[in-house]
Symmetry: C2
């Protein structure tokens, strides 16, 4: 909940490289499951009777504007089900309206696909294609160097160190974005889709390249820079966490409370093996908003954001903030990433902050990738 | 246990393509965990006091000779821990001695690596390199078309239909061989290694190419040809089987009785998604010899074969046989694969056959790949 000295709104820099600010911080706002449809004519789900009157998608828009203004993030990440396309009369218009506050803020933003984004007038590739053409987004359709990869919207972003420091030309924080698909295409497997071998191989190789660059000149480092991974559908390993080892809650009622694929496609293992990703951030389960540590990887939800998404009346819509902080060097300059903290804000009168915690810190280690 | 009319020993055809015989059958002998070391000076483990006198690696050799003579397979598959290299004074010599009966039989044979093959004078790549240079083997070092793949000894073999029939130029049975590694190279993950994304992607693409060929001219088929996968370390999903849904036994005492990797790398999901593989055959756990059906994929062990491998005194060393049988067409010719059966033989006086069962049949379906 630290205030930053960053001017608001920042100067438009749509083609800028991401980098840490002069305060040695980089802040990410995660927005999960907006479920945007047609705007003011689209009603809210699961709100209190007192809230129901005139509640619509515009409440989602208002919440997003408030969050951006309160947090002034360096990057906004939309983790899928950005639109609930089944209820949308025009997917492109819904996407435009859903992301409008991000665009208006002039803050760089990215999105990945959920399982509901393609249920309208645009296919999955159509939705991602529309997104990458929007203003101020750093979203990419897929990695250009890979000939064939499953899904749409698998890409990574590098976050450079502070300008004018030894780390200005190094990515000190790596962000990975993946398409976790929608529904199983295999007749013998029910339920949600999963992250495929082609995507995992791309991640693995990208992580290895980033590590190689990080441990090379200039200022060669001992370990890989920390990474964060964002996608929509939680991994099966989320189910191994319980209230004894999580911050936040698991309120989803069905089954074990985690709507992951019914099969394990191994991405958690691939993350462990790569070693650089310290935290994974998903959406999909609107009533889960926890982070929990499994084998030194934090498995996090953001909690449901959108008002046309199912929720729980009286349980506020919410969003997750992550801030990475750099180490101050002996010379008074900024070094590499020292810690990664998180908190959430509720869509109440004061945008109440909850569940602040340190996800990773350099000193206590965890996986040194 | 059907007798075949095949001549024994068959004419040497080291470069032959594998194909079904004129009886419409293709038989595979699986030999798991020979643990061969130095021959007659290498003692036996876990045998009855009455057997212990002069028991050595040569008992493994004798058992292999007996099995080959009794079954006259079309292919012999060695599923790793072919040698127990830690106790071997010369890995190449141990390999030569271990595979000698297969070579002498003039039957085509293949091998994959286990977790003990590299513990001697040869590295993992050295062992595989030695194997692929041996007589009569169809083993391959790795797929030539893949630039980078984890492990050594990932390859596939096609088994053609009967010569002179419509299927003579089609692979009606596909065999996949993978290197399941040895030990985790990741400090945060204990235990055994796992099948990596690069290997899974190779499998997935190979399976897709074989399917494409099978559903194309000549004699285009509706579904992929059935496949069988052989490797050393069991998948984590083996642990979900119990005595209520297996043929054979799980006698391994430790933990849940399955020494798979401690993490799930997703290969079972990849197999399900590809759909063509009907059965997986591993070794590694010498006291498990079951097959069990999980989501229409049979997960099978062969049971321990070698006398210098740990075992259980009084519980015979054993091997698994698989026979695929073709459908007789209306014209009296041979068609595609109708059924896949299996049984085991014990190294007792009569090479007693046990646990015969149908693993897959075309009529009852299962995954139609």
């Amino acid at each position: 909940m630290k205030a930053t000295k960053q001017a608001y709104p920042p100067t438009p820099q749509p083609n800028q490289n991401l980098r840490f600010d002069q305060n040695g911080e980089f802040k990410i706002l995660q927005v999960a499951d907006m479920h945007y449809a047609n705007g003011k004519t689209t009603h809210c789900l699961n709100v209190l009777p007192s809230q129901n009157f005139s509640c619509s998608d515009l409440n989602t828009t208002i919440f997003l504007n408030r969050m951006i203004k309160a947090e002034k993030p360096n990057l906004i990440v939309f983790t899928g089900d950005n639109i609930f396309a089944f209820d949308s009369s025009d997917s492109a218009k819904s996407l435009d309206a859903a992301f409008a506050p991000a665009i208006a803020s002039n803050i760089p933003w990215v999105a990945v696909l959920g399982n509901h984004d393609q249920e309208g007038t645009l296919s999955r590739s159509g939705v991602m294609n529309h997104i990458v053409g929007m203003k101020n987004t750093l979203s990419k359709f897929n990695p250009p160097e890979v000939h064939s990869i499953d899904g749409f919207g698998n890409y990574n972003l590098e976050v450079g160190g502070v300008e004018g420091t030894d780390f200005e030309n190094k990515s000190v924080l790596n962000l990975y974005f993946l398409d976790s698909g929608d529904y199983s295409q295999v007749s013998t497997i029910l339920g949600y889709d999963w992250i495929k071998p082609s995507q995992q191989l791309w991640f693995q190789r990208t992580s290895a390249e980033l590590r190689k660059a990080y441990i090379s000149k200039p200022v060669p480092q001992k370990h890989a820079a920390p990474g964060l991974a964002y996608f929509h559908i939680p991994l099966p390993e989320y189910a191994s966490l319980d209230s004894s080892n999580m911050t936040g809650v698991k309120l989803e009622p069905a089954g074990n409370g985690i709507s992951s694929p019914s099969v394990n496609s191994g991405f958690f293992t691939t993350l462990l093996a790569a070693g650089d990703v310290k935290a994974v951030f998903t959406g999909h389960d609107h009533l889960n908003d926890f982070c929990g540590n499994l084998m030194n990887i934090q498995l996090c939800y953001a909690g449901g954001f959108g008002y046309h998404a199912y929720g729980k009346a009286g349980w506020s819509r919410r969003a997750r903030v992550v801030v990475a902080s750099l180490e101050k060097t002996e010379k008074g300059s900024w070094g590499d990433v020292k810690s990664i903290k998180t908190w959430k804000r509720l869509d109440d009168q004061h945008l109440t902050g909850i569940d602040g915690e340190v996800l990773w810190s350099k000193s206590t280690g965890g996986n040194q990738g």
